[in-house]
């Protein structure tokens, strides 16, 4: 078995809301294997988004010893600097947001190209990969359109293409189907699985959508910052 993409060990995170300390995560242990698609479920406030933020290196666990470790491809990353985290996000992590978060002044091709552009890849290679990716998500004809000229499903396909274009080891998806109708949501999920497997990416998906979670390899249920249930397709079978 290959090395896990992501390992969380005893991760804790608390927020200070005025005089109150709110525990968002209370010692989370989680491992994500290459190519695996893991669904995080749970009610609002259960800690799904906090867990995604920590896994995506846009936030850090509580300071001090005993608040957990995060390993990305075997490397400890929970205390890396802002620049190190930014470069890791740029090179190894893809993001799919609930409301797509495409840049409105960029064309579809520019949005998809952006991660390669900031990584400094040569123009010829970028152009080739963007063309391939847009063809893969069925948007080759919309390359020069602005996002506001696309439907919700098309926008999310652009977002998925943007997340996968750099061949990340980990894709963080926060409610990726929440803004989509069921048919489009099915298409997105199929697309993510297909492209993820092709690129070897692992997916960490926060969702309330039962149809989405039921098609993931594993489902981790969170409640009050704790993992209360883990189920997998194999176990279910």
């Amino acid at each position: 078995m290959s090395a896990p993409v992501l390992v969380l060990r005893g991760v804790r995170k608390t927020y200070q809301l005025g005089a109150h300390t709110v525990p968002a995560l209370q010692g989370i242990d989680l491992t994500l294997q290459p190519g695996e698609m893991l669904a995080l479920t749970g009610p609002s406030g259960s800690g799904k988004s906090t867990l995604l933020n920590l896994a995506g290196l846009i936030d850090q666990p509580d300071a001090g010893p005993g608040n957990g470790e995060i390993l990305l491809h075997g490397r400890r990353v929970e205390r890396c600097t802002e620049v190190e985290a930014t470069l890791l996000r740029r090179d190894a992590i893809g993001f799919v947001f609930q409301s797509f978060n495409l840049v409105p002044v960029m064309s579809v091709a520019d949005n998809v190209d952006y991660p390669l552009f900031i990584a400094g890849l040569p123009w010829d290679e970028r152009r080739r990969r963007v063309a391939q990716m847009l063809a893969a998500v069925g948007l080759a004809e919309h390359a020069h359109h602005r996002p506001d000229a696309l439907s919700g499903g098309q926008r999310q396909r652009v977002a998925i293409a943007r997340a996968l274009i750099k061949r990340p080891r980990l894709v963080i998806a926060d409610e990726p189907t929440a803004a989509l109708d069921s048919h489009t949501a099915d298409q997105m999920l199929a697309l993510m699985r297909e492209l993820g497997q092709a690129e070897g990416a692992a997916f960490l998906v926060a969702t309330h959508d039962l149809r989405l979670s039921s098609r993931c390899d594993r489902v981790v249920h969170l409640c009050d910052g704790l993992i209360t249930d883990i189920s997998s397709l194999e176990l279910a079978a």
Binding site: N53, G56, I58, D59, T86, N101, V103, V105
Partner: protein
């Protein structure tokens, strides 16, 4: 950063400035007006400086050669510190390659009388033909004509002095002055012309005559100083050094050493236009800052997204600096075109300015078109805009990604 990558950032910057066109247009218009204001004010100041420089150099000569005491000590008797054998010195000065003309001057004061009334005069003895050939029409002839070399015992009077003495061309007057021996001397002269210099106080005292008449009145063959006219303004410094080295016993001053009016006007204008430039610069910074601040607040979530995707803060700052550059640069370019159009328009359709305080003559309003002024101003506006955009973006691009993504 490669050229292609820079062009890509620039393309994004241009696209971002088009998000809110009305706001960008207002920013651009104010920046353009600020730039035009700076260029027009600066151009007007430059034109004034150039005119005053020319006037000052034309009045005294680019260089003034005299005995050192003539510049530092008051004379006890007329021409006490005057130059002897001016003709020989003039010939030697004319041998210098950059010297175009050398004009003798005899400056003295005394009384001028019409027989019934006497008044104080400030008189200058000149070599008329050379003086008017070199200086051009530096005085306005109101009646009669200017002096020429054939005139002897003739004068030109300032307008107000002539009015005071009820003198007209052809009138006979008497000049009274102390000779170099301290005796009082008088000679009769004929009025050839009435002139106006544009300075009423000067016109109430001014008398021009020829050098020989002045020397006859003062009982001396000396002259006060020699005005040296060069082939160009820029030759002043080197020529001064050369002539001073050749005649160490004499003092060689530049027109600037004697141009107290020019210096005071320049000091005043530098302060006025400096303050104006500062105010306009602050306005440009505020306008760009305001526009960028609104744009950045609106795009906080997008900034969070770009940061999450792996964009470094410095890359985002660079992007916002480019937006500032696009706004400021477009405004600076447009403002420069407006200033250029106004400057050229004033050449085609002249506008007469009212006389300045203490003067009787107006002057044409002109704006100098100076490439270095345009370059410095445009670059300044561009850099200020980039700085304003960078400063205002600094906080947002460095805020935690989680907070930026949660921004509503």
């Amino acid at each position: 950063m490669t050229l292609h990558s820079m062009l890509t950032w620039l393309r994004f910057a241009v696209a971002n400035t088009r998000r809110n066109r009305r706001r960008s247009l207002v920013t651009l218009a104010i920046t353009a007006l600020g730039t035009a204001g700076l260029l027009l004010a600066g151009g007007f100041a430059l034109f004034t400086y150039q005119s005053l420089e020319e006037m000052a150099a034309r009045t005294t000569g680019h260089l003034i050669v005299a005995k050192p005491e003539a510049f530092s000590t008051e004379e006890d008797t007329p021409l006490q510190h005057g130059l002897d054998d001016a003709d020989a010195l003039t010939q030697r000065l004319l041998a210098d390659p950059s010297v175009r003309q050398v004009l003798p001057r005899v400056e003295f004061s005394g009384l001028i009388s019409n027989g019934d009334k006497s008044t104080v005069m400030m008189a200058v003895g000149i070599a008329p033909d050379a003086e008017f050939a070199v200086k051009g029409p530096f005085v306005k002839v109101l009646a009669g004509r200017v002096l020429d070399n054939s005139d002897r015992l003739a004068v030109m009077l300032g307008e107000r002095l002539a009015r005071s003495l009820k003198a007209t061309p052809g009138s006979s007057l008497t000049l009274l002055a102390s000779t170099t021996d301290g005796a009082l001397n008088a000679i009769d002269v004929t009025v050839q012309g009435l002139i106006a210099t544009g300075v009423p106080e000067l016109d109430a005292r001014l008398v021009y005559t020829d050098v020989a008449t002045a020397q006859q009145l003062l009982g001396s063959k000396r002259i006060s100083s020699l005005g040296v006219f060069l082939d160009r303004m820029a030759a002043t410094g080197p020529a001064q050094a050369r002539l001073q080295a050749a005649w160490p016993q004499l003092a060689v001053q530049t027109w600037l050493d004697q141009a107290a009016f020019y210096k005071s006007v320049r000091d005043l204008y530098n302060r006025i236009f400096g303050a104006l430039g500062l105010v306009i610069g602050v306005i440009v910074v505020f306008v760009v800052t305001n526009a960028m601040a609104m744009a950045i607040v609106e795009r906080t979530r997008e900034i969070g997204t770009l940061r999450a995707l792996g964009t470094l803060p410095r890359q985002l700052l660079q992007s916002f600096a480019m937006e500032g550059m696009v706004l400021g640069g477009s405004g600076a370019l447009l403002g420069s075109l407006v200033a250029l159009a106004v400057s050229v328009g004033l050449l085609i359709f002249p506008v007469e300015m009212p006389p300045p305080p203490g003067r009787t003559n107006g002057y044409p309003l002109q704006i100098a078109i100076d490439p270095s002024l345009y370059g410095v101003t445009m670059l300044g506006v561009l850099l200020l805009s980039m700085l304003a955009a960078t400063l205002v973006a600094r906080h947002t691009v460095r805020q935690p990604v989680v907070d930026a993504l949660a921004h509503v």
